[in-house]
C-alpha cells in the first residue's frame, strides 16, 4: 500500500502542466531521434542535456525518461518502413517488419509495435516499482561467467534464427564475430587487427554494420531491379492499424513473453535492449507453430522483440535508481546528468529523494500513454514515406544513413565503413546470406570475449569456473540443448519419413 501512496505522490509531481509538457516534448524528440539512423537514445540525451540545465532535476529527468522511451518507439519506424534500424535494439524488427511493409502491411506492423511497446513499457514500470529490490540482487549475482554462458546461449541460437541455408548463417556468424575483434584490446591494453587505421582503434561500430547490411544493402540491391519493388500505397486508416482478432491471438503471448525477457535482460548491467529483443525473437521462433513464417512477415516477430526492447528500458532503470549503477550507455548519461544536478544516485536515492524517484516513475506511465496515442495517430503519416517515389526514396535512405552514421562519433571513417558494409550487404543479399547473424554476432562477439577472458582471469585460467557456478552451468546446459535439440528433431523426422514410406 505504501508503494501506491508513493505512486500517487509521484503522479502529483508528474502531472503539473510543465512536467507534462516536458514529458511530451521528450517523447516527441525521442521518437524523431530514434527514427534517425545513427542517433540513438544516448546521443539524443547528450544533445538534450544542455537544454535541461535550467530545470529542476525532476523535470529534467522526466524529459530524459520521455526521450529514452520515445527513442525505443521511434527506432521501429525506419526499421519497418525502409529496413534501416533507427537504433540498435530495433534490428530484429527489420526481419519481419520490413517484410510486412513489402506486403503492404506496414501500418499493421507499426501498430502492433506501438501496442506491444505500450503494454511492455507500462508493465516494465510496474515491475520497476514492485520487483526492483529482489531483481537487483539477482542481477548482481551475474558475474562474468554467467554473462559468458548467457551470451554463448544466444550465439548458439543465431544460426537457426533466420530461414534458408544454415551453412550460410554459420559463415555469417563467424564473419560477424571476426568483424567485432579489431580495436583496443582491453586485456592486453594493445590495439589488435587495426591494420594501422586510427578509426579501427575504437572497434567497428555495431550500428554501422547494421545500417550497412540491412539498409544500404537493400538499397543497392534494389538498384538492379527497380520495378520489382511495389509497396501498397493506398491510404491507411487508423482502424486498419489496430490488430484484428486473429492478429491479437498470435501476438498476445509474444508480447507477454517479450515483456518478461526484456525486463530481466534489461536489469542485467551490460546486456541491454538489443540482446533483449534478439532473445525474444529467438524464443518466439522456437515457440511458434509456424517457425517457417518468421522472416517472411510474421506479426509475432515484430510484437515480441518490440515489447522486449521497451521493457528493457524499464529494466535498465532498476540498477540506476536502486544502486546508482548505469546498466547501459544511455543510463550512464542519465547518471552523469543526475550528478550534474547535484543528485546522488545510489542506494539511498529512494529514501533521500522520493519525490524525484516516484515522479520519474509516474512520468514513465504517462510517457508510455502519450507515445501510444502519438504513434497510433501518426502511423498513417509515417506510412506516407512509402509513397515517395523510389528514385527519390532510395538516395534519401543513403543520405540519412550516411549522416546518421557520421553523427555517432563524428568520424568520416565510419562513413567509409558504411560503404564497405553496404556493398557487403548487397553481395550477401545476392548470395542469399541473411544479414541478421552477422549483425547479432557483432553485438555478441565483444561481450562473449570479454566475459570469457574476465572469467578466466578470475579463475586464473581454469575453465571449471563455468560449471561450478549454478546459474552459468544451467545457462550452458540450455545453450547445449538449443544446439542439440534441432539436430535430434531433424534426425527423428527423417527417420519417420523413411519408415513411413517403407
Amino acid at each position: 500500500m505504501e508503494t501506491l501512496q508513493q505512486l500517487i505522490m509521484g503522479f502529483h509531481v508528474a502531472v503539473t502542466p510543465l512536467n507534462l509538457l516536458l514529458c511530451f516534448l521528450g517523447a516527441l524528440a525521442g521518437t524523431i531521434i530514434g527514427a534517425l539512423p545513427g542517433i540513438g537514445p544516448s546521443a539524443g540525451l547528450a544533445i538534450l542535456l544542455p537544454l535541461t540545465f535550467g530545470m529542476n532535476p525532476t523535470s529534467a529527468m522526466i524529459m530524459m525518461a520521455g526521450l529514452y522511451c520515445g527513442a525505443m518507439y521511434g527506432g521501429t519506424i525506419t526499421s519497418v518502413l525502409i529496413n534501416v534500424p533507427g537504433e540498435s535494439s530495433s534490428v530484429m524488427t527489420c526481419l519481419d517488419g520490413y517484410q510486412m511493409a513489402l506486403q503492404g502491411r506496414a501500418g499493421k506492423a507499426l501498430g502492433i509495435a506501438a501496442i506491444g511497446s505500450f503494454i511492455a513499457g507500462t508493465a516494465s514500470v510496474v515491475f520497476l516499482m514492485l520487483l526492483s529490490i529482489p531483481l537487483v540482487k539477482f542481477a548482481l549475482s551475474f558475474g562474468p561467467p554467467e554473462y559468458f554462458a548467457l551470451m554463448l546461449m544466444g550465439l548458439c541460437t543465431i544460426a537457426g534464427l533466420t530461414g534458408g541455408s544454415v551453412l550460410k548463417a554459420l559463415v555469417g556468424t563467424f564473419l560477424g564475430l571476426l568483424i567485432s575483434t579489431p580495436g583496443m584490446d582491453a586485456f592486453s591494453g594493445l590495439p589488435r587487427l587495426t591494420f594501422g587505421l586510427t578509426g579501427l582503434l575504437g572497434g567497428v561500430n555495431f550500428l554501422v554494420v547494421a545500417v550497412g547490411l540491412f539498409g544500404i544493402g537493400e538499397v543497392l540491391y534494389n538498384a538492379e531491379q527497380i520495378m520489382k519493388l511495389e509497396f501498397v500505397t493506398e491510404k491507411i486508416k487508423i482502424k486498419e492499424v489496430w490488430p484484428n482478432r486473429a492478429e491479437w491471438r498470435v501476438s498476445a503471448m509474444p508480447i507477454i513473453r517479450g515483456t518478461f525477457i526484456g525486463f530481466i535482460v534489461g536489469v542485467l548491467p551490460g546486456a541491454g535492449s538489443t540482446i533483449a529483443s534478439f532473445m525474444s525473437y529467438a524464443t518466439e521462433k522456437r515457440f511458434s507453430k509456424h517457425p517457417e513464417l518468421f522472416g517472411k512477415g510474421a506479426i509475432e516477430g515484430v510484437a515480441g522483440p518490440e515489447a522486449a526492447n521497451n521493457s528493457a528500458t524499464g529494466g535498465a532503470m532498476v540498477p540506476l535508481l536502486t544502486l546508482g549503477i548505469p546498466g547501459s550507455g544511455t543510463t550512464a548519461i542519465m547518471l552523469g546528468a543526475l550528478m550534474m544536478f547535484g543528485l546522488q544516485p545510489g542506494p539511498l536515492l529512494f529514501q533521500k529523494n522520493p519525490d524525484f524517484v516516484w515522479g520519474v516513475i509516474a512520468s514513465m506511465y504517462i510517457g508510455n500513454i502519450m507515445l501510444l496515442i502519438m504513434n497510433i495517430a501518426c502511423i498513417p503519416l509515417f506510412v506516407k514515406i512509402l509513397k515517395i517515389p523510389n528514385a527519390l526514396l532510395f538516395p534519401l535512405i543513403i543520405v540519412f544513413a550516411t549522416v546518421g552514421v557520421y553523427s555517432v562519433d563524428g568520424n568520416i571513417f565510419d562513413v567509409w565503413m558504411l560503404y564497405v558494409f553496404g556493398v557487403m550487404g548487397y553481395f550477401m543479399k545476392k548470395f542469399d546470406m541473411p544479414p541478421a547473424p552477422v549483425v547479432l554476432s557483432v553485438v555478441l562477439g565483444p561481450m562473449i570475449e570479454r566475459a570469457l577472458r574476465q572469467s578466466l582471469a578470475m579463475s586464473l585460467g581454469s575453465y571449471d569456473i563455468f560449471f561450478t557456478r549454478p546459474i552459468s552451468a544451467v545457462l550452458l546446459l540450455v545453450g547445449l540443448a538449443a544446439v542439440v535439440w534441432p539436430v535430434i528433431d531433424m534426425a527423428r523426422q527423417r527417420y519417420r519419413a523413411r519408415t513411413g514410406k517403407a
Partner: protein, 335 residues
C-alpha cells in the same frame, strides 16, 4: 518587390562584405590574437562521463562569463580511447579556433599504441595550453568485505600472489596504472580484471565477483553513504578537502608512496602562434579564478591547480615517462 538598381547594389555590397569577413580571421591573427570565430572545443570522450562534464562545464562558463568573446561549442569526437578525437584535432594544425579538453588517455593511449609498434599522434603533437585540475582516485571495496582498510587488503594480497581480484577499465588506462603503481609500492601482485566501463566494474564489485576497484571518490560517495561500499584510501598528495572525506587516508600516509590521478587540461593544435597561446593561457587563468568553476571543482572534490603552457607541457612529459615505466611493469611497453 521590384528589384531596383539600388537593391542590386546592396546585394553586391553585402556579398563583398561577407567575403571580406570570411577572410578576416587570416588578417587578424597577425597582430595580438583575439578569436573571431566560434571556438570548437573538442571533447575526446562521449558526453556524460567525467571528461564530458568537464568540457561541458568549462565551455559553458567560458561562454556565459564572456571570458572569450565568441561561442565555444562542445564537439564530441569519441572512440578509440581518445585516438579518434586526437586525430581530428591534429588535422587542424595552426588553427587557433580549435581547442581540446585533455585527461590521462590523451597521454596513455598514444603510449600504448606506440608500444604495439604502430605510429600514432602523441600528446607532443599538440600545443598544451593549461592544466586546470586533477581528478583524484580511490581504492574501494564492498562494504561487507573482510578488508576494513588498505593494510588488510595489501596483507591479503601478500598471502598469495594474484589472490585479490582488482577490477577496473582497460589495461593501459588510468585505473590499471593506479593499481600497478600501488602493487609496485606495496610489493604485491594483484589479479587485474578489465571491464568495459565504470558501471560494469561497480556491478561486479557489488556482486562480489571482484574484491576491489579503483574509482573516483565523489562518484562513489552515495555508495559509501548507503553502506554498500567502503573507501579505503585515496591516491592523492593531501587528504581530500570535502567534509565527507576527512577520515579518508591518503595512500602516502599509510606508507605506500602512490600519487596517481588524472589531469583535466586544455590543449590546442600544433603550430598556433605564440600570441594565441598567450591569449588562451590568460583566458583559462581567468576561468580558474571564476567562482562557478571553483564551485564545480569543490563539488567534485578535484584538486584545483593552474599550470600554464610551459608547465603543462612539462607535467605531461614527466607523466608520460612515469606511465611508460608502469606500462613496462604491466608488460605492455617493451623493456
Amino acid at each position: 518587390m521590384k528589384v531596383s538598381v539600388h537593391n542590386i547594389r546592396i546585394i553586391i555590397l553585402s556579398i563583398l562584405a561577407v567575403s571580406v569577413l570570411a577572410m578576416a580571421p587570416a588578417i587578424s591573427e597577425a597582430a595580438s590574437f583575439v578569436p573571431t570565430r566560434p571556438i570548437e572545443f573538442v571533447c575526446f570522450a562521449s558526453p556524460g562521463g567525467g571528461s564530458g562534464i568537464f568540457a561541458e562545464t568549462v565551455g559553458g562558463i567560458m561562454e556565459k562569463e564572456k571570458i572569450v568573446p565568441v561561442p565555444m561549442p562542445r564537439i564530441y569526437k569519441s572512440g578509440g580511447g581518445f585516438a579518434v578525437g586526437m586525430a581530428y584535432l591534429a588535422e587542424k594544425k595552426g588553427n587557433p579556433h580549435f581547442l581540446g579538453s585533455t585527461a590521462n588517455p590523451f597521454i596513455l593511449t598514444p603510449l600504448v599504441v606506440t608500444a604495439s609498434g604502430k605510429k600514432t599522434i602523441l600528446h607532443k603533437d599538440f600545443t598544451q595550453i593549461a592544466i586546470l585540475a586533477f581528478d583524484e582516485m580511490a581504492v574501494v571495496v564492498k562494504y561487507d568485505a573482510p578488508y576494513k582498510n588498505l593494510k588488510d587488503l595489501i596483507a591479503a594480497a601478500k598471502t598469495k600472489a594474484k589472490s585479490i581480484k582488482f577490477g577496473g577499465t582497460n589495461v593501459g588506462g588510468t585505473d590499471s596504472l593506479l593499481v600497478a603503481s600501488l602493487a609496485k609500492a606495496a610489493g604485491v601482485e594483484f589479479n587485474y580484471i578489465a571491464f568495459q566501463g565504470g558501471g560494469e566494474v561497480n556491478a561486479a564489485l557489488l556482486g562480489g565477483h571482484i574484491d576491489a576497484m579503483s574509482a573516483n571518490p565523489t562518484e562513489m560517495l552515495p555508495q559509501i553513504e548507503g553502506k554498500t561500499m567502503r573507501m579505503l584510501a585515496v591516491a592523492s598528495e593531501k587528504r581530500l578537502s570535502g567534509s565527507d572525506f576527512k577520515d579518508l587516508p591518503t595512500m602516502k600516509e599509510l606508507g605506500f608512496n602512490v600519487i596517481f590521478n588524472t589531469h583535466r587540461g586544455i590543449t590546442a593544435p600544433a603550430g598556433i602562434s605564440a600570441e594565441a597561446v598567450a591569449y588562451y593561457e590568460n583566458a583559462f587563468k581567468k576561468l580558474s579564478e571564476n567562482d562557478t568553476f571553483k564551485k564545480y571543482i569543490a563539488d567534485n572534490n578535484m584538486t584545483p591547480t593552474y599550470m600554464n603552457s610551459v608547465q603543462a607541457t612539462k607535467y605531461m612529459n614527466d607523466f608520460a615517462d612515469y606511465a611508460n615505466g608502469l606500462l613496462k611493469d604491466l608488460g605492455i611497453a617493451k623493456k
